[in-house]
């Protein structure tokens, strides 16, 4: 018997979590010293209101949760005699999993018979979400943790995510993207194209001028890099840029088939704090990342 966990950084909403049977760990952000835990401190996420604040010049911070917080999430299930499989966002992007490791070590001393399994999605937001949902399906289908880990070993690298940025302030503030043509402070219509590499880090892979070309670049990337795209979810996410996201969806359907299973999601505020408003991206099944 085991339960599955994921965190809010993977863009999974409480409603969907319930469908799959996921328990959700809330990853906080803070603005002006006030810390907010998504889906703990609010019921539903008002994407427009949040990203509009960022447009107004607010630069949020994100923080790791503590060892104690991890314990309070995990211990009740160990106590009940259940094992845990945690499908989490990229370890390479955060220090938070060190606290988790310590918490798990402590708990395993206390509950030596219990097992803890972790899947590093090596992504964040929809880069993780595609894997989170696939694993949710497997869980629902009654797969064992080991079967899921084996699946993940092959498949984590097969879900690619590409997105473009609109405002570099947020990326610079978070310091989490490498190769961002370093010196640019103002984008002025230039959109860096960023992806998550197989180490789970955000890397800039080029740039495009203007929204139209940037959207086209994403579509082209799905065409070129995609592998059995239609057999999996294609997830499109945006940070309060629904028009551009819909344009991307329409183009994807036009070029890759009308029956494409496209899911349109809002980027969660904690991950969104790193990329700022008007970011649009796509996650899909690929030959490689």
């Amino acid at each position: 018997m085991y339960v599955i966990f994921t965190d809010t950084d993977t863009d999974l909403t409480p409603e969907k979590a319930e469908q799959y049977g996921y328990h959700l760990i809330s990853m906080p952000y803070s603005i002006d010293g006030e810390t907010t835990y998504p889906y703990v401190d609010f019921k539903s996420f008002d994407s427009h209101a949040f990203y509009d604040r960022l447009r107004g010049g607010v630069l949020p911070n994100t923080s790791a949760i503590s060892e104690e917080q991890y314990k309070s999430y995990f211990e009740p299930f160990f106590k009940e005699g259940k094992d845990i499989l945690y499908v989490h966002f990229s370890r390479a992007m955060t220090m938070t999993f060190e606290a988790m490791d310590r918490a798990v070590q402590e708990l395993q001393k206390k509950y030596p018979d219990r097992s803890f399994y972790a899947v590093d999605t090596k992504g964040i937001t929809i880069g993780s979400l595609n894997l989170v949902e696939e694993i949710g399906d497997l869980y629902q289908a009654g797969k064992t943790p080991q079967e899921i880990l084996n699946w993940a070993k092959e498949e984590v690298d097969r879900f690619a995510v590409y997105f473009f940025a609109d405002d570099l302030r947020f990326f610079k503030h978070s310091g989490r993207v490498s190769g961002l043509a370093g010196t640019m402070g103002t984008l002025l219509g230039v959109r860096p194209i960023i992806h998550m590499n197989s180490e789970g880090k955000m890397v800039s892979v080029g740039k495009e001028k203007g929204r139209t070309k940037a959207v086209e670049r994403l579509v082209k990337t799905v065409e070129d890099l995609g592998d059995h795209v239609a057999d999996h979810r294609v997830i499109v996410a945006h940070t309060d840029a629904p028009e551009i996201a819909k344009e991307l969806c329409a183009l994807l359907r036009e070029r890759l088939g009308e029956n494409l299973n496209i899911e349109l999601v809002d980027v969660n505020p904690t991950a969104g704090s790193h990329c700022g408003p008007n970011t649009v991206g796509v996650s899909f099944h690929a030959k490689h990342r």
């Binding site: 043509a181 010196t183 640019m184 002025l188 219509g189 230039v190 001028k209 203007g210």
Partner: protein, 551 residues
């Protein structure tokens, strides 16, 4: 008696007088502008260029070879604008022809001037007839044909100048744009001014005025950026004046010069003071020129006064080691230099990742030397240069040819928009330089830049009846809109440029445009062209009230 041969002393006087005469007609040459907006600067460019040459001269050199080569070197480095570059190469050719000669007779002049023609034509990849090139070539060819045994240097110059003037009058027959605008070629006109000055010196009439020109040129070369908001006054001010002792202020006969000198030594150094009758000449280096002046004014009033910040003077002399940080600049694969004017636009380029932004543009073209200084501040294997004007490209190329410590690639960006479009997409992670060049050229070709500026005279162009004071919108050399109202001229320009078909519209408003007006134009543009991503920038540039960059 006519001068038969020209030596170094005389040639220097001729060059100086040429510069003086051009200075006198500088504005008139500037105004020979095809476009009816006040952005012509051929006179300025040519004057700055020839002054950079005469500045190298000491007045003591007897060899015409040395004088002409020093002047040519100064001009090559100081060349601004296309006409300045051509002028510098013209004199470089002449200097080559005079190489090794102490003085020049008529045959030497013929040879040297012919070399000048060849070198000037080589300066541009596609020589245009009806310009300074034609005027000079025809002048030389006519003078050569008239050479006889009786010819003297002076008669050679008489013929030369006669044909220069006639050729200048013919330039509108060769260039349609000149004929349509009813002007003669500005570069050719500038050269005629120089030649007139040279001839009058040859006739020995004008040594004094040449003196004045030296001073003008010196001040033109000062680089004010050397003394910034954060600079510390280290060397003080070189303070020089002539003081007329006044009877109303005391007995002139009892004025104590040695007392003044010892006082000046307490608040300065390098004191030189002497007296002739009621005039006292004072030279002192001091941190507090005001104190010196107040003290001296108790004895009389000033006839002349000159105070110069010696950090600027000093920096001229130690230019080689001016920037102590230069040697530590991290080595990079690529450096980027842009030419821009307007504080907002300069900031824009800095934020795009330019290592240096050279001030200049349509008016105030930078000199080749300005580029070389910028090259020296960048420790890179390859430096990309993005001019903002067709009149800057040649200067940049000349600077590139004179510099050998890095590979210099001058992209032919002719507007601020082309430079922005290219630099913003320049990927410094790309290892293949040729690929970058190809991409930059492609981007530059895909940019349309439109500008709005105020007409400075009535004219008829491209089917528009333009009244002085109207706002005209133009793209390249073509006028696309004309209205007494600036926002109307701007919006109708955008319509003619099919702004709705572009992905990106960068709207850069100049120092002559109020922010509220720019905002209303921006609002109108975003409504008219919702598919086009419009970005508004306070460029602060002169002359162009709006610059629109469409991609």
């Amino acid at each position: 008696m006519k001068a038969e041969r020209i030596d170094g002393i005389l040639f220097e006087a001729m060059l100086r007088q040429g510069a003086v005469n051009l200075e006198r007609h500088r504005q008139a040459v500037n105004d020979l502008n095809v476009f009816p907006i006040p952005d012509g600067d051929t006179g300025d460019n040519m004057y700055m260029t020839i002054s950079a040459g005469t500045q190298e001269l000491s007045g003591k050199e007897h060899s015409i070879s040395r004088v002409s080569s020093s002047a040519a070197r100064g001009m090559l480095l100081g060349a601004r604008g296309n006409s300045g570059v051509i002028l510098s190469r013209l004199f470089a050719g002449i200097a080559r022809g005079l190489d090794g000669k102490d003085e020049a007779g008529v045959p030497d002049l013929c040879d040297a001037f012919s070399l000048g023609v060849r070198e000037a034509y080589d300066a541009v990849s596609e020589p245009t007839e009806g310009t300074i090139l034609t005027v000079f070539r025809e002048g030389v060819s006519y003078a050569e044909d008239r050479v006889s045994r009786e010819s003297t240097a002076e008669s050679f110059f008489d013929d030369f100048l006669l044909e220069l003037r006639r050729s200048l009058e013919r330039t509108p027959d060769l260039l349609d744009v000149l004929r349509e605008s009813g002007v003669v070629d500005s570069g050719g006109a500038g050269f005629v001014c120089i030649a007139e000055g040279m001839k009058s010196a040859l006739e020995g009439s004008a040594a004094e005025e040449a003196e004045m020109e030296t001073q003008g040129a010196a001040s033109a070369r000062i680089d004010f950026s050397l003394f910034s908001e954060d600079s510390v006054l280290e060397y003080g001010y070189c303070t020089e004046f002539l003081l007329r002792l006044q009877r109303s202020k005391g007995e002139i006969e009892r004025f104590d010069l040695s007392g003044l000198v010892s006082y000046l030594n307490t608040i300065g150094n390098s004191v030189v003071a002497f007296r002739e009758g009621s005039i006292v000449k004072v030279h002192v280096h001091t941190m507090t020129p005001g104190v010196v002046l107040n003290h001296c004014q108790q004895f009389g009033e000033f006839l002349t006064l000159k105070i110069e910040n010696m950090t600027l003077q000093h920096s001229e002399r130690i230019a080689e080691n001016r920037d102590p940080l230069r040697k530590q600049a991290p080595h990079k694969r690529y450096g980027i230099i842009a030419v821009a004017s307007g504080s907002g636009i300069k900031n824009l380029f800095s934020s795009l990742g330019c290592d240096a932004v050279i001030e200049g543009g349509q008016s105030m073209n930078p000199a080749a030397e300005d580029f070389i200084r910028a090259f020296e501040t960048i420790n890179a294997e390859t430096i990309f240069v993005f001019p903002n004007n067709g009149n800057v490209i040649l200067t940049a190329q000349q600077a590139a040819a004179l510099y050998d410590k890095a590979r210099i690639i001058v992209l032919e960006s002719k507007t601020i928009g082309e430079g922005y479009a290219a630099i913003s997409m320049l990927d410094t992670n790309e290892e293949n330089t040729e690929a970058i060049i190809g991409e930059m050229e492609e981007i530059i070709a895909g940019v349309k830049t439109g500008s709005v500026s105020q007409a400075s005279r009535d004219s008829q162009l491209d089917g528009f009846e333009i009244c002085s004071g109207d706002y005209i919108g133009f793209c390249g050399k073509q006028i696309l809109s004309d209205s007494p109202e600036k926002p109307k001229a701007a919006l109708s320009l955008l319509e003619r440029m099919n702004a709705g078909e572009s992905d990106i519209l960068l709207m850069i408003y100049g120092c002559g445009t109020q922010e509220t007006e720019a905002r209303s134009v921006y609002d109108a543009v975003t409504k008219l062209y919702p598919r086009t991503e419009t970005i508004m920038i306070d460029g602060g540039q002169p002359i162009y009230d709006y610059i629109f960059v469409l991609e």
